[in-house]
Every structure is written in C-alpha cells, then in structure tokens.
Symmetry: C2
Subunit: 150 residues, 2 copies
DNA sequence: TCACTAATGCAACATTGTAGCATTTCAGCG
DNA sequence: CGCTGAAATGCTACAATGTTGCATTAGTGA
C-alpha cells in the first residue's frame, strides 16, 4: 500500500504540480535548493547555487520564480538586514513564526517553535493583525566555532 | 535658577553640539523634522519637508546626515516594508522598543511602552542579544477614518 | 579676520528589484 | 508521437535606494 505522503516528503515536482504550475527546471531547482537549506537564502545565494548546478537562468526569471513560490505558499520571505529578501521553503502564514538572525555569519533561520505573542496590550486604537519577531545574536554554529577558537 | 533641562526640551542645536558635531542647517532642520513627527520618516519624506522649508540640500548629504544622527544616538532607524529605512528621533538601544506598521497608511510608529520579551526560550545553542518586534495592522487614525466612512 | 578641517555638493557607481515584449517551452490533445 | 495555445522565460530598459571619491564650502576656535 502507498504510505501517506507528508508534505515534507513530496517531491518538488509534485508540490509545483499541485499548485497548477508548470514544472520547469528553474522552479524544480530553486524549490529543491530552498528545501535543502538549513537557513534562509537570498536571491544572490540561490543564483550562485543555480550556477554551480549548471541551471542556466536569467536574473528576472529567478525573481519571478521566487515570487511565484511565495504566492503559492511553497516558500516564504523574510526581510534581511541589508534590504534584500531571504527565502525559505514552506508557508509562513504571515509571520506565524519567529526568526533568528546571526550577527556573526549573517544567516537567518526560522524558529518554527516560537510564535510572536499576539496578546500584548497595545496603546488604545491600535489593531494589530500580526506580529513579526526577529531575534539577533549568535547562532549555534558560530557559538561552537567561537568556543573552539578559544 | 535655570530649570533642569530634560533631553526632550533641549534644542536641536544643543543636542548636536553635545555630540561634538558642527551645527549646520541640514542637521538642524533634519533633527527638528524628526522630533516634530509623530511617526517614522523615510529619506524621501524628509527630503520633501526640507524642500518645503527651503532648506537646500543634496541627496547624499541627507543620507550622511541621517547616518550621523543615528551614530550619535540622536535618531534611530527602522527597516520599512519597501526596503527603505525609516527614521525617528531618539536613541533606540538596538531594538529596545517595539514598532507598529499600519498596513493602510504605511506609517510606522514607535511603541515605546512595549519591549520585546527577551526571556523566550530559544532552541539550544542560540544566544539572542536583542529582539525586534514589529506589529502590523491598522493604526488609530486609520481605524477612526474607517469608522467615519461607515 | 584667519586657518583648519568637518561637512557639503556633485558625478559616477552599486545593488536590488520591476516592466514590457518578443521568444521559447511545457502540457494537454488528437 | 507531433501540434498548439498559454505559461514561463530571456532580454533590455528602467526605477528606487543607497554608497564612494574627490574637489569645494563653510563652521569653529584662535
Ligand atoms: Mn520562516
Ligand atoms: Mn522606534
Ligand atoms: Zn552564525
Ligand atoms: Zn494608518
């Protein structure tokens, strides 16, 4: 019998097809790259990986591919410190989880387990609909590396 | 006797001088504009106000002036949704207070009374140093305007 | 008033992203 | 399979935001 397929087990091709989109080499490669990465990737990071994989593409196509993935809920976007977006696989539900930004290596990772506290009392009149929470500090990798250096 | 002067009562000129900087028309005007505004201002907003005040200036000078004010702790920066910085008067201590971003009018305001919860338990290995908290939703002005429309 | 140097203005450049439009390629169909 | 129409791509040009280098101007203290 076919085991029930968790979303995380679905192939990139199946995920793309399920959205009613065409399966193209750029979409396949980009979604694969995002799903394989432990941290958020910038447009530039992804372009570099595509180059390494010999997946020819145009700058604009990559922007459009990323937009499409976000629209479809196959990826989500986090604003980086350098006014460039970072991308992660998976849907975010508009800021449903917090993110961690390492000031040493610059990596941004999703903290799926932490959701911003929506119940905070704001001053009168403010109607919050969602909250973005971004921690800054040192990530586990950089902490370990620092300990080894010492 | 001279009443003790609160920082908020100091003139822009005195604040600038206290930092050891020269008092120039651009610095005076920009700091004044920031201190008079109830919400964050983009580079472009400030340029428009300078124009209205007939304070001639160069684009680059304004960028440098804003950088300097932030360096000196006379202003702080918040990243907007459109990858353009917004500026507020006053020191922020690296994310010491939360901000509210109105999705209707685009205004960003400081919520001085709300500080991100630093005590949240992060996954093992993460060393947070500060947290940024940004609420999105409808601001009091837009809520009121909407109620009047109905 | 003078001299020193911080601050400015200008031109050129960098980065990140968008818009329009002709061309290619995917997916469904006979 | 080979066609065909629409979706996706590639290219060029453009826009927004910010930075760098360097010559000139103008605050400041003497
Ligand atoms: Mn995330
Ligand atoms: Mn603030
Ligand atoms: Zn790190
Ligand atoms: Zn508003």
């Amino acid at each position: 019998m076919p085991a029930p397929t968790l979303p995380s087990e679905q192939s990139a091709a199946a995920l793309i097809a399920a959205c009613g989109g065409r399966i193209t080499r750029t979409r396949l490669a980009v979604l694969g790259i995002l799903r394989d990465s432990a941290h958020s990737l910038s447009h530039d990071d992804i372009a570099a990986q595509l180059l390494a994989l010999d997946v020819h593409h145009d700058r604009v196509t990559l922007y459009r591919t990323l937009d499409w993935l976000v629209e479809q809920g196959l990826a989500h976007r986090v604003s980086g410190p350098d006014r460039a977006w970072r991308f992660n696989s998976g849907r975010d539900n508009a800021g449903a989880h917090a993110h961690f930004h390492c000031d040493r290596c610059g990596h941004i990772v999703c903290l799926e387990s932490i959701r911003p506290d929506e119940s905070l009392a704001l001053p009168a009149g403010y109607r919050p609909e969602r909250a973005e929470l971004v921690f800054h500090g040192t990530c586990p990798d950089c902490g370990r590396r620092r300990a080894e250096d010492a």
